[in-house]
């Protein structure tokens, strides 16, 4: 492998989960990731490329990939599909005008064969904003009910601003993945 071995070896450790966070730009992905990791969220620039965050959650190690959602870089999303255990789709519940756009991108994503085994958590974010749609309303707009019956999914209202709902969402996601992947060993 030569020089490649200089780059830190990554091992697929036991109890490791790979989580992909996507959604339109401005939906709050980076804020959510920093918030659950207890970091400062006061200065965040729109993500150019991606961030990886490794954190311990229960007895699991989560590798969270936070990928930028600006239109010009959405085509890179597919680079991160491989080996994804959990998909987190983040919605700005106060951005009513772009909900069509949001539905379109999510539908495309769910057609991806490489993601067909991943549990789906939809975060209806920015619930602290007055006028934000409720999780039920978001579920209706996105027509989540019509999803492929084999998919494990759940929608949770949250606010990266107050932190509300974030743990509830991640609890479900981690439990769901664990019950699929680690129940056998």
């Amino acid at each position: 492998m030569g020089l490649l071995s200089i780059i830190r070896k990554i091992k697929r450790k036991e109890k490791e989960m790979r989580i992909l966070m996507v959604g339109l730009d401005n939906s709050g992905k980076t804020t959510i990731v920093l918030k659950i990791n207890g970091e400062d969220t006061s200065v965040i620039s729109p993500t150019l490329g991606f961030n990886i965050k490794t954190m311990t959650y229960d007895k699991y190690t989560l590798n969270i990939w936070d990928v930028g959602g600006q239109k010009t870089i959405r085509s890179y999303w597919r680079n991160y599909f491989e080996q994804t255990d959990g998909l987190v789709w983040v919605v700005d519940s106060s951005d009513l005008r772009r909900l069509d756009d949001c539905k379109f991108e999510l539908d495309n994503l769910l057609k991806e064969e490489r993601l067909s085994g991943a549990s789906l958590l939809v975060f209806a974010n920015k619930q602290d904003i007055q006028g934000a749609l409720s999780p039920d309303e978001i579920a209706k707009v996105l027509n989540l009910d019509a999803m492929d019956k084999t998919r494990h999914w759940r929608i949770v209202g949250c606010s990266a601003y107050t932190g509300e709902g974030l743990l509830e969402g991640f609890d479900w996601l981690v439990q769901d993945i664990a019950s699929r992947i680690y129940v056998l060993d």
Partner: protein
């Protein structure tokens, strides 16, 4: 990429990473600290010609290019092997390459806090291309791979979301596209002066949509602002705590303050900004930037309340997401001082 933010992100990642031994961790911590103070000094003295981050960028490029070449030559090798000996099992080789690409990708992510945006973008593109090549080699060598994938996923049990589904089914409306209510805002106006003052009451999002030849003055703080389809408008806005999204505007003047500002499809417009992070543009041209210059009774305390009271100079650090090269994007520029408007009092 916001150096500050990425810096802290990476620092936590590495220090909590159990795969690194303590010496390496110490070295990394020292390096991060060094980079951090370099970053600080760069922020304070903007005219630093010998950019000290050059060294690390250079070694990144060297390492990255070498790895890329290794991966490419392995891929070529595999293709040749399969041509000469079609029965050979190349699966382990392909998996190894896939792993190498993932490693390289992680390397980019971990380096992205010190790399210039251009290097990040072009490395991402390279990785995307490598994956594509790997995919096409894989499908040539093992045409039945995709097939077995499908079988594997077909056997999933159905559980989990029962509660959520029921809740949705009980709703009376069943049509395909559900139309929610509208946010507060100004819509479909021409030749008007629109004035609003947000006081005390908790204001969430506000919308400016489809306005022509209008002047808009919004005083006070609120959470987020969505702007779309404006022609020849003048927009004066007090501090926005969250973010501003601006789409499809032409011939407009904006004087706005916010933590984040995203500008899409803007033409020939001027932006006077106060911003805590890097403003970004996409599919825009002829856009110019200058510092915030708004004044009304009580603006100082509003700015303070929104944590936007000092000008960090971020308004000039515009990222053009469509501009891949290291040289200045032709789509935006900094407004010359003599061309700027005076402070606007509303």
């Amino acid at each position: 990429m916001d150096n500050q933010q990425a810096l802290s992100t990476t620092a936590t990642d590495m220090s909590t990473d159990p795969t690194l031994d303590s010496t390496t961790q110490r070295k990394l911590a020292a390096m991060i600290e060094r980079l951090s103070s370099l970053h600080q000094s760069r922020v304070s003295t903007k005219t630093d010609l010998k950019d000290p981050s050059f060294e690390s960028t250079k070694s990144f490029i060297l390492l990255f290019t070498n790895s890329k070449q290794e991966i490419e030559s392995s891929l070529t090798q595999i293709q040749q092997n399969s041509d000469t000996n079609p029965t050979l099992d190349l699966k382990p080789e392909l998996e190894k390459i896939s792993l190498s690409i993932t490693e390289l990708e992680k390397f980019v992510a971990e380096s992205s806090y010190f790399l210039p945006p251009y290097e990040v973008r072009s490395s991402l593109k390279t990785i995307s291309d490598l994956k594509q090549t790997l995919d096409s080699v894989t499908s040539k060598v093992k045409p039945r791979k995709k097939f077995s994938f499908k079988n594997k996923h077909a056997k999933k049990p159905e559980t989990a979301n029962v509660v959520t589904k029921e809740a949705i089914e009980n709703e009376p409306e069943q049509q395909m596209s559900y139309k929610p209510k509208d946010s507060p805002g100004y819509r479909n106006k021409e030749n008007e002066i629109l004035i609003k003052e947000f006081k005390g009451s908790e204001i969430g999002e506000f919308v400016l949509s489809n306005l022509t030849n209008c002047e808009v003055r919004l005083k006070g703080c609120f959470r987020s602002l969505f702007i779309d389809r404006l022609q020849n408008c003048k927009i004066y806005v007090g501090p926005v705590l969250g973010s501003i999204l601006i789409e499809q505007v032409e011939g407009c003047l904006f004087v706005v303050a916010s933590h984040q500002i995203r500008i899409h499809h803007a033409k020939e417009s001027d932006f006077y900004l106060r911003c805590r992070s890097r403003p970004i543009i996409e599919q825009s041209f002829g856009v110019r930037f200058a510092p915030y210059c708004l004044c009304y009774d009580g603006i100082e305390s509003d700015l303070k309340e929104s944590n936007l009271d000092d000008d960090t100079g971020s308004w000039a650090n515009v990222d053009d997401f469509q501009w891949l090269r290291a040289v200045q994007s032709p789509n935006w520029s900094v407004l010359q001082e003599r061309e700027r408007i005076d402070t606007v009092k509303i």
